[in-house]
């Protein structure tokens, strides 16, 4: 049964727990009292429209420099990580696949995929590329620079998650920029990650993506307003949010938040 997010309802066996997290930037509330839990071995979907705070939450969870929280706490595998650096979090087994991944002049795909790889062998790198439908013969020696298309770079970002095999991967809109023909492959890939030991926080603005999730949360205007089984989250989103999706800035979020009980 889904509903409003209250820290007391969050599972204590969660791999990731976020308690009352708030973040301001330039005097504006970006995240407001966010509570979230991701169970180990699950794919947890975080659904929200553009500008709802999804990526900001991802950066805050990863510890990015401009996203240090003003309040609240983050727990990972029963260790508080709120003030840890990105590197420290990564070494604990947390990582992030960026929505718009960085480009590196001079770094080859092979080098990039070897960074933080669980197994330092060429075969794992080749297998990861094949898993995202990129030919190792063509891509291993290419540079991770501007010459790659957005879709190619996104696939390489996903491949790097496969080689790292982290305990928790935050995937920020892995479906954006991917052509519809390969979208199914990406979904299959994400769905298989828990079998390889990687729990997934799947961030998306497309409610269809929740079909591969085990549980889900809905974020609106910096607050997680609903969590529960994916179908219930989709229904809540469909009935209250999708209608407003077309005109950003005009959504009556306060009403949604009141209905969700978090206003």
């Amino acid at each position: 049964m889904g509903g409003e997010t209250d820290v007391s309802t969050l599972s204590t066996d969660s791999l990731l727990r976020v308690e009352d997290l708030s973040l301001k930037r330039a005097g504006r509330d970006i995240l407001s009292h966010v509570n979230l839990a991701v169970r180990a071995g699950a794919v947890h979907g975080l659904l929200g429209l553009n500008g709802s705070g999804k990526s900001s939450l991802a950066y805050a969870l990863m510890g990015c420099a401009d996203y240090l929280p003003d309040g609240g706490r983050i727990w990972f595998a029963d260790q508080e990580i709120t003030r840890l650096s990105i590197t420290e979090r990564a070494r604990l087994g947390l990582t992030l696949a960026w929505q718009e991944p960085a480009r590196f002049e001079g770094l080859t795909v092979s080098d990039f995929l070897s960074l933080g790889a669980k197994k330092q062998d060429r075969e794992s790198v080749r297998a990861a590329l094949e898993a995202v439908a990129l030919s190792p013969a063509v891509y291993l020696g290419r540079r991770v620079d501007q010459a790659l298309s957005g879709g190619e770079r996104k696939r390489i970002e996903l491949a790097s998650i496969l080689t790292m095999c982290p305990r928790l991967a935050i995937l920020d809109e892995p479906d954006s920029g991917i052509d519809t023909l390969t979208l199914g492959d990406v979904e299959t890939l994400i769905r298989r990650m828990p079998d390889e030991g990687t729990t997934v926080l799947l961030i998306t603005h497309r409610d269809e993506m929740l079909r591969i999730a085990d549980s889900a949360s809905l974020i609106c205007q910096g607050s997680v307003v609903f969590h529960g089984p994916p179908m219930e989250v989709r229904e809540f989103y469909g009935s209250r949010c999708r209608f407003h999706a077309q005109t950003l800035g005009r959504q009556p979020w306060d009403q949604v938040r009141i209905e969700a009980g978090v206003a």
């Binding site: 990564a90 070494r91 960085a102 590196f104 933080g116 790097s160």
Partner: protein
């Protein structure tokens, strides 16, 4: 004094053999492959301080080296029309901590010849050392010369490197030059290249340097595009950190119809380091076109955070990004 060493002869005098080995070891430290130098059919010139330790010619490649009190004068010529499967290797260096090495080199690339030079300059122990490379390069019509110079300096920074070259690129010839100083401390680097390009010719100057501590990098490159449809490019990639400084001055002159020039400079600056770039565009023909672009800034935060999210520490991430740019 004329060198007594001739093609294919490796000196047998024990002291020199030891020095030769030490220079080659330093060369290997700089990323070179010693085995390549010993391979049959490889043209090779090895100079340590003012001694020519080895000189191995192959058909089409000629070395004429003369030892001077503080260095070597060398004439390196390539026969017209020659083509080679492998690069010509040049190895310059000094093992002592102090001293002066002056290399006066004259390169002549015969008409229609194509050659690649790999020059390795190794100064692993430098504390108070000056290395001057004073070169003239003449590329005859339709020839092609690719000259890659890689430096390996020790960790002390007590070295001054002064590479200067005047290059004449004849009609339809191509001159591609890459200078790289990214291993060990830069010390003080002062590059001065001036290139004249005739009709249909091409000159590309690529410079890469990575300075830290109190290193000083100065680059002054001038390309005169004198002939119709001559093309020129300067590409500079420099990173400075700590208190290091860099000053990049590039000039491209479009002096003839359809001449095309471009200057591209990217510099990364960290800590208290200072980076300057001064491109100068001169156009003397209304059908010529010369452009420039420059970007000086710190390491991209996103690139850094992406690498840190893979478990790299901040300094490791910065170093990897800089070395990637300098590759």
């Amino acid at each position: 004094m004329k060198s007594a060493i001739h093609a294919g002869v490796i000196p047998a005098e024990p002291g020199w053999v030891k020095e030769y080995e030490a220079i080659l070891n330093a060369y290997e430290q700089a990323g070179g492959n010693k085995a390549v130098l010993g391979a049959t059919g490889t043209a090779l010139l090895v100079v340590s301080a003012n001694r020519v330790l080895a000189s191995s010619e192959i058909p089409g490649v000629h070395f004429d080296a003369e030892e001077l009190p503080n260095g070597v004068r060398a004439r390196i010529s390539i026969d017209p029309g020659s083509r080679f499967d492998r690069p010509v290797h040049l190895c310059f260096g000094m093992l002592p901590t102090e001293g002066l090495q002056e290399i006066h080199a004259e390169y002549v690339i015969g008409k229609g010849a194509a050659v690649e030079f790999l020059a390795h300059c190794t100064f692993p122990n430098a504390l108070q050392l000056r290395h001057v490379m004073d070169a003239t390069m003449r590329l005859e019509a339709g020839s092609s010369m690719h000259y890659t110079e890689s430096h390996f300096h020790g960790p002390h920074g007590g070295i001054e490197v002064v590479p200067q070259a005047r290059v004449i690129v004849a009609e339809g010839a191509q001159f591609l030059n890459t200078f790289s100083l990214v291993h060990g401390r830069v010390g003080r680097l002062s590059i001065n290249y001036e290139v004249e390009v005739a009709a249909g010719g091409l000159a590309e100057l690529t410079t890469k340097a990575y300075g830290w501590s109190d290193d000083q990098i100065q680059v002054n490159e001038i390309i005169h595009l004198n002939g119709e449809a001559a093309r020129g490019l300067t590409k500079t990639r420099v990173a400075v950190r700590d208190r290091a400084t860099s000053e990049i001055q590039t000039t491209a002159e479009g002096n003839a119809p359809l001449a095309r020039g471009h200057m591209d400079c990217t510099e990364i600056v960290r800590d208290q380091a200072v980076a300057k770039n001064m491109p100068l565009v001169v156009v003397r023909d209304d059908r010529a076109r010369v452009t420039h672009e420059a970007a000086i800034g710190t390491v991209s935060k996103k690139e850094m955070e992406t690498l840190m999210a893979r478990g790299l520490g901040e300094e490791e991430a910065v170093d990897l990004i800089i070395r990637g740019m300098l590759q």
